[in-house]
Structure formats: C-alpha cells, structure tokens
Symmetry: C2
Subunit: 459 residues, 2 copies
C-alpha cells in the first residue's frame, strides 16, 4: 500500500469515528442546490443534492433530504433554482490580451498578428499591462464560472501573483520562444525567468506551471529539446500552439520537409505531457499518433472560427481515444473568456462539421470544459468533477430565467441556453470568490478604471 492510499484510509477512518461519536459533523460550508452535476459519471444529474465542504475540499455530495442528520455547517448556502457544476477549466488563454479585446477584428490571422497585435504588444506589454490585463481576465473568468485557467503570456510573475491573490487556480505558462520580448532578451533568459517562477511557486496550492514553447514555428529544435528535458525534470506539462493554420503547416513542410507533428515526434515531444492547442490541420495517421502517444488536444473553436483557421476534428480525436479539452484562447481573438459560450460553440460546431447531430452531445461538452481540462493539466485527482476529497472548486448557475424554461434537462440548459451572466456563485478551494454575482477577492471598479485607462493610452 502506497503512503497516499494510507493517508486516504486514515482520513476515512477518522471520518467514520467522527460519525459514530457525534450525530452532527462540523463543516465549513453546506451548499444545497436544486441540481448537482458531478460530471463523473458523464451525464448524471443529482436533483436536490448538497455539497459539504471542509478545509477547501468536498467532503460529501448527498441528497439534501438527508441533510438534518449529517452536518453542522458554519455557512449554509441555498441555491434553489441553480445547477452546481465543477468549476470550468479554460485550458488555453492569454489572459492579459483582454486589454486588446476588439482592437482589430474581422482580419486574416497573419494580418491581425503582424499589423495589429504584435505591434501593439511591442509598444505596450510590460509588467503593468500584464497585471491589469490578468486582473481583467480573471474577473471575467470567475464571473463566468471558470475556476482554473491555463495561461501563456509574458511577465508570468505578475500573472501568477494576480491569480494567487484573486484566489483562482491557474497554470502559468513558462513561455519560450526564439525572438526576444520585453519579458526576455534571449532563450536563456526565458528559461531562467521561467524556472525562477516555477521555484517561487512551490508551496502554492492554486498556481502550477507548464512550459509554454509558443509554437513549432517560433521555437528552435535546440530550445524544444531543452523544454522537453526540463519538463521531465520538473514533471510539468508542455503547452504549445500546434497546427493552428494550414499556412503554418505548409510553411513548415516547405522549410524542413516535415509537418510540425513529425518534427515534434522526432524531438520526442509527443507524450502525455504535451498539450497541443488548436490542431485544426490533422491527417488520419496523425490522429492515430496522438492517441498512441497520449498527447492532449486543447480545442478553441471560437478563436479558430474568428480567425478562419480551420476545424479541429473533435469527434475523430475523441473516437481515437485522444483527450480533448476546451479553451477560449485570448480575448483579442474570441472576444471573450466565456467557457459556457465556448461549450455551446464546440457542441454546435462539431455537429455542423461532422454532419451528425449526435456529435459532441451536451454532457460531453461539459466534460470537455471540466474533467478533460483537469486531465490535460495533470490535475484530475484534484479538480474537474464533484467527488469526495477533490478540491471544492465549483460554480452555481441560476436556471430560473425565462430563457432557460422549462428545465427538462439541466445539462442541456447549461450547454445550449445559459449565458455566463447566470453564474451567481463560485467557490475555489472552498472559498466563495463570487458571491451572488459580486467578486469577493477583486476590486472590480478599479479593474474597470484601469481597463479604460489602457484603452485611452492604446487608441
């Protein structure tokens, strides 16, 4: 028996002793919901269930009618018209780019990047930009039920600090690319700063890291090999844009004779550590390779549509056994960080492009946005579903609006008809970070003021 198992057994025995000794177990919070959707197993809806939270973890999920005999809670929260779901996990974003939201729309991707986004980044990105942009993004994500995000940007230390203070879970990408930036002048400096942050974050229960080599076309073989070795040493994921557009794949083939995935395979990067974002250009044998090597795919349907990048073949990937999770991408190409909307777009789009109305049903879309994301980030033992001993990261969605009536199936309502504004309450590690639509850890007025100031500066 492993020590971890012993630990669990030990806790279980303690709980049992406790139950025998007293009739009421003291807990921190009792959330009584109309519906609890645990995500594991897929599609299950528990009507009139409660969640008991103690020390930041889920201690129990049980029928509310059993309530009186079980727990004595320091705080009881009634959610009579709400569905409680695991906190949404946004597996790909560039949170600070929210400050460029709507700056340049309806443009081809390379024109958008080269003539608008990259010049704006060169001019404006710095510690203050990342601090203010991350706070804006975190505020938006918490309000929309997202409790964890996987970020890739510059000035990582600022992003990590904002996330930690806001009480949101984050995986901060240790960015690596060949070109210098305001954050790092050389590959060595990218690595040094990334490793320093990783070191500084030891001990944080909320913030983890991943290496984030930007894309195959912006990072050399030498640096990718270094990423692979260090990711193995530190046991962290590798978060990378791969096969976002047909052009990028064609250019790689023209320059090297290899498609990007073949190059990554040669560099031994196709492993369960790799989180490959976008993946709109995939051949059948590449899908088999991804399945065989355990690579995770991070699907960003709205960004792919808006930039006309192509379609990620989600059904084919899932059918082959690939874990596919969901992300919004940055708000400069989405233009929001709304995971509820992203689920809907993912579910609708997959039916359209596969030609089958049974493709990506609502319960699977919800799983992609929660448990599949947790798996990709290596956090499936802590988050992604509402199960005993997982972290108390969850969101309540009020389904009482006219636009959600009648409720035959709460999962259908959430995926196909709810909006982010129906999220009323959010907990991360048992802390109520959104309380009846008010952020409790962030100064929203100040965030809005700073966003307006950035607009005035940038325009």
């Amino acid at each position: 028996m492993k020590p971890e198992r012993m630990g669990c057994g030990y806790i279980s025995i303690l709980v049992q002793l406790y139950c025998c000794g007293v009739s009421m177990n003291p807990i921190d919070t009792l959330v009584r919901a109309r519906w609890v959707i645990p995500v594991e197993p897929t599609g299950v809806v528990l009507e009139r269930h409660s969640i008991a939270v103690e020390d930041g973890a889920i201690r129990d999920v049980f029928p509310t009618e059993e309530d009186p005999s079980r727990y004595e809670a320091r705080a009881v929260v009634d959610l009579p018209t709400h569905a409680v779901i695991p906190g949404l996990i946004n597996t790909h974003t560039h949170a600070p780019m929210g400050l460029f939201r709507g700056l340049a729309d309806d443009l081809p991707m390379m024109e958008w990047l080269q003539n608008h986004i990259w010049p704006a980044e060169a001019r404006w990105v710095g510690a203050e930009f990342v601090r203010d942009g991350t706070a804006l993004g975190v505020a938006e994500m918490l309000r929309g039920g997202t409790t964890c995000f996987n970020d890739m940007y510059f000035f990582l230390d600022e992003a990590a600090r904002v996330a930690e203070e806001a009480g949101i879970r984050a995986c901060i990408g240790l960015i690596v690319r060949d070109l210098p930036s305001a954050w790092a002048r050389s590959a060595d400096e990218y690595f040094a700063k990334g490793l320093k942050l990783h070191e500084d974050l030891r001990g944080s229960s909320l913030i983890t890291t991943a290496f984030a080599p930007h894309a195959p076309y912006t990072v050399s073989d030498a640096q990718l090999e270094r990423v692979r070795r260090l990711a193995d040493d530190l046991d962290i994921p590798i978060h990378m844009h791969v096969n976002e557009t047909a052009d990028e794949v064609a250019q790689a083939e023209a320059a090297t004779g290899l498609r990007p995935l073949a190059r990554l395979e040669r560099l031994a990067l196709l492993t369960p550590r790799l989180l490959a974002v976008h993946m709109t250009q995939l051949q059948a044998e590449e899908i088999e390779t991804l399945a065989a090597t355990g690579v995770h795919v991070l699907h960003c349907p709205e960004s792919n549509l808006k930039l006309a990048s192509g379609f990620c073949p989600v059904e084919a990937l899932m059918g082959a056994g690939v874990n596919v999770a969901l992300g919004t991408d940055g708000a400069a190409s989405n233009n929001d960080l709304d995971m509820l909307g992203e689920m809907r777009t993912a579910a609708l789009l997959e039916k359209g492009i596969s030609g089958s109305a049974t493709a990506l049903p609502a319960p699977m879309a919800l799983r992609m946005a929660t448990l599949n994301g947790a798996k990709a980030l290596g956090l499936e033992d802590r988050i992604g579903s509402l199960q005993r001993d997982k972290s108390a990261d969850f969101a309540a969605i009020d389904l009482s609006a006219v636009s959600n009536q009648p409720v035959y199936d709460p999962i259908s309502q959430i995926v196909y008809a709810a909006t982010r504004d129906q999220v009323t309450d959010v907990w991360v590690e048992g802390k109520r970070v959104l309380h009846d639509r008010c952020l409790t850890t962030l100064d929203e007025a100040a965030i809005l003021q700073r966003a307006a100031r950035w607009r005035d500066r940038i325009t």
Copy 2:
C-alpha cells in the same frame, strides 16, 4: 412628385416651423446614450448621442451636447454606459416551441422530428399551449433586445393576441400544410382561419401577417398556387422552410425530378415576397436565380448547426446581391431565442466555412439582425434602423461589464462579446417594454409558473 414625398415634405416643413416658433420642442422621451448605432449607414457609431421620441416614432438623433437647446421631454432616460441599437428582428421562429426547449437534444433531425417533436405536438399543442409558449418566447425575446419576430406555428390567433398585448412587433405566419393538425383539419380550414386572422388584424400597427406554407415537402402544388395568389392579393410575404437539409432536396428530386427551388420557380413563387428559411443546400445557379428574383434568405445558423443540416452560404448569397436576414428558429432546436448570440454565431461560422476571417464582419452581422430583417418583412420603411420618422423600436445594451472592457469598438463588443443579459431597456413604438431589465407588459412570474406546469405535464 409622388404623394408620399409630399407627405414627407409637409412634415419637414411643420417641424421647421415648430423649431422657429419655440425654443423647446415637447417630446415624449429623450434617450441619452453613450453610443447610438443607427445601422444605416453600416458601421457608423455615434458617440454621446440622443434619440428624441414622439408619438411612437423617432423624431431626431443628435449629439447630446446639443440637448439643452432642443427638446423638452416628458421622460429622460440616461444610458451612460450603453449602446442603443435598432430592435433586433428575429425573422424565423416558432415561439411556442420554447415549451419543448431541451426536451430532446443531440438527435438527427428526422428522428428528432418524428420521434420527439411531432408526437409531443400531436399530444400537447392547442390554444393554451400556444398562448403560454408565445408569452414565454416573447418574454425571452424582449429581454434579449428583440422587438420584432416572424413566427410560424399553429393557433395563430393566440400568438397574435399575446404579441399585441406584450407590445412586441410580430409577423404572424398564416400556416398552410397538407396534413391536418389541432389547428385545422384541411387545407381549406388553414386558409380560412389564416384569412380570418389577417382580417382581424387590420388596424394593428404592431402585428402583420405572412403566408406560411410549411415547406415544399409538406404543401402540394395546388395549395402553393393558392398561397401565391392570395399573398399577391393581400400584399404580404410568404414565409417557408426551403432546402433545410440535403435529404429533403434529394427526396424531392427523386419524387418529382425537380429540386425544390425549381419547383417553386415553376409555381412562380420565386419573387421578393418569398422569405426562404435555412437554404443550406444551394447550387451556384440557384444563388443567381435567388438574386435575380429578389427572394430573401432567412439564415438560422444555430439551428442548422444543432441539427447538422448544413451551411447556408451567406457570403456567396450576399455577394450575389441576395438580402440575407437572421433568425433563431424555435427554441426546441436552438435552444434559445437570443439574437445577440445568433449574430455572433453567424459572424464566426461564416468565417470558418468560407475560410476567410474577413467574411461577415461585425457591422454586417448587426445589419442582418436588424435592417435586413425589416427588408425581408417589407417593413424597412418603419423599422430596422435608427432614422428619423421610423418607429421608435430600439434596445439598450450595457457595455460596462468586465467581459466587454475595454471598449475600442462598440459594434465589435455587441457582436463578439455581449450577452442577452446585458440588454437593459427596450422600446417598441416608443413604449418602454423592458425597463432596467424588468418586463413592463408581461407578468414574468406567471409565465414561469405556466412553463413549469407544462414541463410537469409533458414529462
């Protein structure tokens, strides 16, 4: 000079006289907005403008700083963080079907219809169902900024009454099909009841009618010819599902040797009266025919995606000169009546399927959801844009949320990042039917209760 022109000139002279005679013109309502987006011309944003409303019509749109010297309003409404747009026009829905929202998802279209929707309709649809379902749909639409909808269902008299009482503009489809229903036992009865309603609605400024032959595959040539003759006599549009799926087109070809549009052309139905819904199956020469004959296309992207029906070629249609407007379809296949979300889906999807990120830019998506809809319904002289003498049908969207910051471009925010819940106020014919997110003409609690009762009965 035509009499209409004389009329306009006469009013213009009167207004000028009035301005000279007194310094302050009395009006009903003055709406002072951060942004006014008139839609005509496309893409224009008027910052800090006001709208003067008198006798249900827009009397003026002007810079707010000129305010003090112009109008004396009985009511002044300040919208300091809002964009005011023309009321959204939902050009294709089956409002009462909201009572089936989420009853059966993720199914192929014919299975969904034959095994779920049609049996449920046979069992439940009647006057009470249509009354309650229409009220639910109207409440949802008004809350989301929709001020006009083009409906096709049964028990039209109930739908018309609910819409009139709620103060929403509606075009009620006079449904015709070969099969009997709870509404009518024969083609003759469909026509008789439809014509009676048309007659009864004379004098209503809010409610108009269209003939609504369900689809080419459910209505015989004889009845389609009757529709054409009567529509000409009454001078009203013809609202019809056409080429929704590939199967339907293949079956028509197999049965008659003609594609549905060829049959409709033979029946002389391809005219500017025809509002052809869905149109996911179109050959290049059919697009030319549509353009040459002035047929309007009503695009329902979310329903087409959800049922995997195919893609309406919006860019190709618009490029050929066809007027394309937007609809949600019913909430049983969408699953909401959210025109803001539909605009976003339309704009994103068109980029994806056309492969061009410049396709269907945000200002054009907004035009599709407003002025193009007005044109399709033959109401472009009354609604669809914020112009002097048009009806005061408009909606205010609060863009102050974190998820909309910073605001570089309000049209981008509305199309790509706003949700229906940001709509705070709606006017129809100058009447404030949504007041700070509260419906003023509908009893929302009663609507919710009745929807819950239908769910209990149906499940």
